[in-house]
Point group: C2
DNA sequence: CGAATAGTTGAGGTGGCTCAAATTTTGTGG
DNA sequence: CCACAAAATTTGAGCCACCTCAACTATTCG
């Protein structure tokens, strides 16, 4: 308990000092600290408690700048010498068919790596687009290499990160392939709640439009809209525009029959209580 | 050219000698050599040319035995101290919804690792089932660890393997989410052709039933059947039972608008000519 | 040769799609 | 702060790709 907060605090402090060297103004410094803090939280959600490694890694993240909604953060294509981290905002990984239809593979939140696959594979045919104003950082592959050599736990975290991503793809495939629209959409929303909470963002407010969700759930925007309205009438979602607001978590989890084990989240930074979402036939606690 | 065959030959020799110690009878020995050879071909398809590493790895693969169609090779659940390799037969990775619907995530062929994710993640909620009589081998995680420490290239190969798997999941999600049944099924079949060829198995004969394919493409068995019949009438598939036989590769690739880049296959063991499937808007060759 | 599995066929139903237009919300420049 | 443009959401209507159910046939295997 005290332990968690402890590490978080030390992590942020480390950044304020090392990352910015005390040079920036108050406002920039604060936002930077918060931004890099997301990376720290992400690592913690992966079950890594290697403060030293984190302190070594984070100063190597160079803030690259801001990208506006609709623009690509990472484009299709060949290898690069560095990888991208989302520091602020919401993004999505996607691909487009020959006939122009877009499928979103995963949503990305602060702390998420955008193109770790390129670190290994060089060639990649998917892209990452900003779904809101985003700020991103980059880290050079050689730096990443050095860190993982020096702090094996950090390398493990990256492995886990990749594995969890793959696990998300599989769950989505199950979701899109086998569940009817309502359950499918409910599942999708549940996942976003949990993942947002895991990096310390309030999961009841999901920063995605209905159109974004439609491309993720593989339903038409029209049908997404109708389903959202159904969920509102059930008292589960709130009447909000440009984002989804969950007002009745439990009932949503119930409709979805959601089980978040596939996310492999180890610890939660969420101040919104214990991870109830794991409830369903989850942990062998007693 | 000569190079390829060279390595393959040496690999097989290494096995016959090291793996079996010259102890087994002719028939068992030969099938063993062939089985482990698949693992070698798999590594080569990943673009790894580390013969030493392979020679070190392969003797550590213990043949575990035979599993019959329908049975699970790897069940849902917690961590193990070893990973499983498919040596012979066809398998699939899958998961089932709360309402009993099955989604297949990928098909697996000789040489494929079944549960590399458990090496990293401990917990995994998907399973691997045999789709034919399968023989599998196991390798202990500590051995894997030693090998990858000693031969970094081998570790790279495992990374790549995981990344390519994830890439397949994404493509399938695009496929299931955004393409109509005919194109979807054509894509699916194209992928199997290419992947089989890549490990030296004739890709024109795909060892999958229509039911298996249906659970992968997320269409009902009835609709799969009707689509297969359509493809037959187009002269693309042959009239065959319990497997799919492709008689007109190019036309299938054309219907699918298939582009196999996402498979990241580096070299091909296939004696059936150059990888034409890569043709479509593929490499910047000239 | 029977039992099981895989494939085939017909008929009827529907979940979700497309098209198209209206309305609301948000962002932008003046 | 307003007016306009752009983006997001909403609504209605018609339709069709694919589904389910159910029975029948062909194949495989013990």
């Amino acid at each position: 308990m005290g332990h968690k907060g402890d590490i978080a605090a030390r992590t942020e402090r480390a950044f304020a000092v090392v990352g910015l060297g005390g040079a920036g103004g108050v406002s920039l410094g604060a936002s930077m600290t918060r931004a890099l803090g997301a990376v720290g939280r992400k690592f913690r959600s992966l079950g890594i408690d290697c403060e030293e490694g984190l302190q070594a890694l984070l100063p190597l993240v160079k803030v690259k700048g801001s990208i506006s909604r609709g623009a690509d953060i990472v484009a299709t294509g060949g290898s690069t010498h560095c990888s991208t981290v989302l520091l602020n905002g919401t993004a999505c990984r996607y691909k487009v068919t020959e006939s122009g239809r877009r499928q979103i593979f995963t949503f990305q939140y602060p702390g998420d790596f955008c193109d770790l696959n390129r670190y290994v594979l060089a060639e990649s045919d998917d892209a990452v687009a900003a779904l809101s104003e985003c700020s991103v950082g980059i880290i050079r592959h050689e730096d990443l290499e050095r860190i993982t050599r020096q702090y094996p736990e950090m390398g493990q975290a990256l492995w886990r990160n990749v594995m969890v991503e793959a696990s998300i793809f599989r769950e989505w495939l199950l979701n899109v392939g086998q569940r009817p629209a309502l359950a499918r959409i409910a599942n999708l929303i549940c996942e976003q709640m949990v993942r947002l909470d895991a990096v310390g963002i309030d999961g009841t407010v999901i920063p995605l439009t209905q159109v974004d969700l439609a491309d993720a759930a593989a339903v038409s925007p029209v049908h997404m809209n109708r389903t959202v309205q159904d969920l509102r009438e059930l008292g589960i979602l709130a009447r909000s525009s440009r984002y989804i607001e969950v007002v009745h978590r439990d009932r949503l989890v119930d409709i979805a029959k959601f089980n978040g084990r596939y996310l492999n989240i180890h610890q939660t930074t969420s101040p919104w209580g214990p991870p109830r979402w794991m409830s369903r036939e989850a942990a062998p606690l007693h």
